[in-house]
């Protein structure tokens, strides 16, 4: 039993390493398939990131006069939080505001220099308010603009994110739908091509399989090496795919980051193991399954 398992593994390895042309063809096809699959994974990660970033945005900011005390601001804050439309209200003190400002413009002297020239903190303490539904920003803005707060609040900024979000989600859902359809078709084609490549490989071994049957080899003894070969192709293709992704991520990371704020390379590194697992599962699964299905008919002798 053990010796048969060992022989099957060795024989599978021999097929994989000796049978260059068919292993090579299967490897190329399988790598393309896995590349498509993992690109989908990447796209998914990127769109989730963008949507989250958008949803994390602020709807209304209320800036308080310097004369207003922190307690008073907290009072406004608790009033805001009692509103149904308000989801969050974050308090930013003057010091915190300065810190964030300096952080955001780090290295950009032309912006930071005037700040130093002033010699004091020119920024306001403020509340960043987030609506439960971005469309409700105007109710919140109206509430803040009311008589009750006129003496405390210096200015109100509101960002009408709703149309942007609507447009973006329309685009992203459109893209998602399109991408999903295209990638579904692409994956099906890819899987079929992979399956057929492997089937062709096995077809070439049809005679050998029949001979093995006739000299008394059991089905598993014949099937095993082909499954091992399929698994090896899947595993190798997984590593190749990840290598490609990392290379593309490494060189494509900068332009994409400045454009969308999404760091592909960091994402790849962060999800390296789930990606590896995904590729290995898809690759080995596809390799073994294709081989198993393809070989069935030749074992009937």
């Amino acid at each position: 039993m053990m010796i048969s398992v060992k022989r099957i593994l060795r024989s599978g390895w021999e097929k994989f390493s000796r049978d260059r042309s068919s292993t090579g063809a299967a490897l190329v096809v399988m790598t393309v398939v896995l590349f498509v699959v993992s690109s989908l994974f990447l796209l998914q990660g990127m769109s989730t990131f963008l949507v989250e970033r958008l949803e994390g945005g602020v709807d209304v900011s209320a800036y308080f006069k310097d004369t207003v005390s922190e307690e008073e601001i907290f009072e406004v804050r608790s009033q805001l939080l009692s509103l149904q439309e308000v989801k969050e209200a974050e308090y930013i003190s003057r010091e915190e505001a300065l810190r964030r400002f300096v952080d955001a413009y780090r290295g950009q002297e032309e912006i930071l220099a005037p700040l130093e020239a002033i010699g004091r903190n020119p920024l306001y303490a403020h509340l960043n308010v987030k609506a439960r539904d971005p469309k409700q920003y105007d109710q919140i803005a109206e509430f803040l603009a009311g008589e009750a707060f006129a003496s405390a609040i210096a200015s109100i900024d509101f960002y009408d994110r709703a149309p942007l979000i609507e447009r973006l989600s329309l685009i992203t859902s459109g893209i998602r739908g399109g991408v999903l359809a295209v990638s579904a078709i692409l994956s099906i084609i890819a899987v079929l091509v992979a399956f057929n490549t492997i089937r062709l490989t096995i077809y070439n071994s049809k005679e050998e399989i029949e001979i093995m049957r006739l000299v008394g080899a059991s089905s598993w003894f014949i099937r095993g090496p082909f499954l091992v070969q399929g698994a090896l192709v899947g595993a190798t293709a997984s590593f190749l795919t990840l290598l490609f992704l990392l290379a593309i991520g490494f060189f494509g990371s900068k332009p994409l980051y400045s454009f969308s704020g999404f760091d592909v390379f960091a994402f790849l590194l962060g999800h390296f193991f789930s990606l590896l697992l995904l590729c290995l599962a898809a690759g080995i699964g596809l390799g073994v399954l294709s081989a198993a299905i393809a070989i069935r008919r030749y074992l009937r002798v």
């Binding site: 039993m1 049978d19 001979i211 093995m212 006739l214 008394g216 089905s219």
Partner: protein, 227 residues
């Protein structure tokens, strides 16, 4: 040991290869099957290995009806029969050594036994210096001898040889027939299909004569008779 019962074989294209053939083979017999090209010799042997199914009748090996065996039981049957195929049927991706060793690997024998026996058998058939050649690098006669080595390496109960000397020169032919006789003396049943008149006449063993798929003659110490 082996029993053919009213076996008829008609191929899907309606060519009739065997017509109502019946005979028995006892343990330890040496039987030659003769007949013109196309008489049905190869078909007769293929039926024993369950490579083909009979259209009518049945083939028994040790009381087991060969064609009623489950596919998972076929390997066991085939390991009891060493077949030398007329077209050799060697594995092209394996060397001479590996081809012969494969039969023993299939049976789960250990590496040392395999290494020892394969070397020995390849020497017996005179291929000790062709051990690591692939079939495509071997001559017809050399391939035939690899096929013979493979058929007897695992000491099967029956050796079925389909024209095993078709590609051999007189020297090798004589050696192979001697080898088959010696194996037979040690108790292995041998079935030999051939149209080599000289061999059959020299053997003075049982001869089955096929004519157009019919078994027309079955003699204890037969001669090759041209019909």
């Amino acid at each position: 040991m082996i029993r053919y019962r009213n076996v008829t074989k008609i191929y899907p294209d309606n060519s009739v290869a065997l017509r109502d053939v019946s005979f028995d083979v006892q343990h330890g017999e040496f039987v030659s099957v003769v007949g013109k090209s196309g008489a049905g010799k190869t078909t007769l042997l293929k039926l024993l290995l369950a490579e083909e199914r009979p259209t009518k009748g049945e083939v028994l090996f040790e009381e087991l009806s060969v064609h009623q065996l489950r596919p998972s039981d076929l390997p066991q049957l085939r390991r009891n029969i060493g077949m030398v195929f007329q077209d050799y049927k060697l594995l092209n991706s394996k060397t001479a050594y590996e081809n012969v060793a494969y039969v023993m690997e299939v049976m789960g024998l250990d590496e040392e036994t395999i290494a020892r026996d394969v070397q020995e058998v390849l020497e017996i058939v005179g291929l000790e210096d062709r051990v690591h050649h692939y079939p495509l690098q071997l001559s017809g006669g050399e391939k035939q001898r690899v096929a013979i080595a493979r058929a007897l390496i695992h000491r099967p109960r029956v050796i079925v040889a389909d024209e095993p000397t078709g590609n051999l020169d007189p020297y090798h032919t004589r050696d192979i027939i001697r080898l088959l006789l010696r194996i037979n003396e040690l108790g292995t049943t041998v079935i030999l299909a051939t149209h080599n008149k000289e061999i059959v006449n020299r053997l003075e063993r049982r001869v089955l004569t096929l004519v157009e798929g019919r078994l027309v003659r079955d003699e204890k110490q037969g001669k090759f008779i041209v019909v």
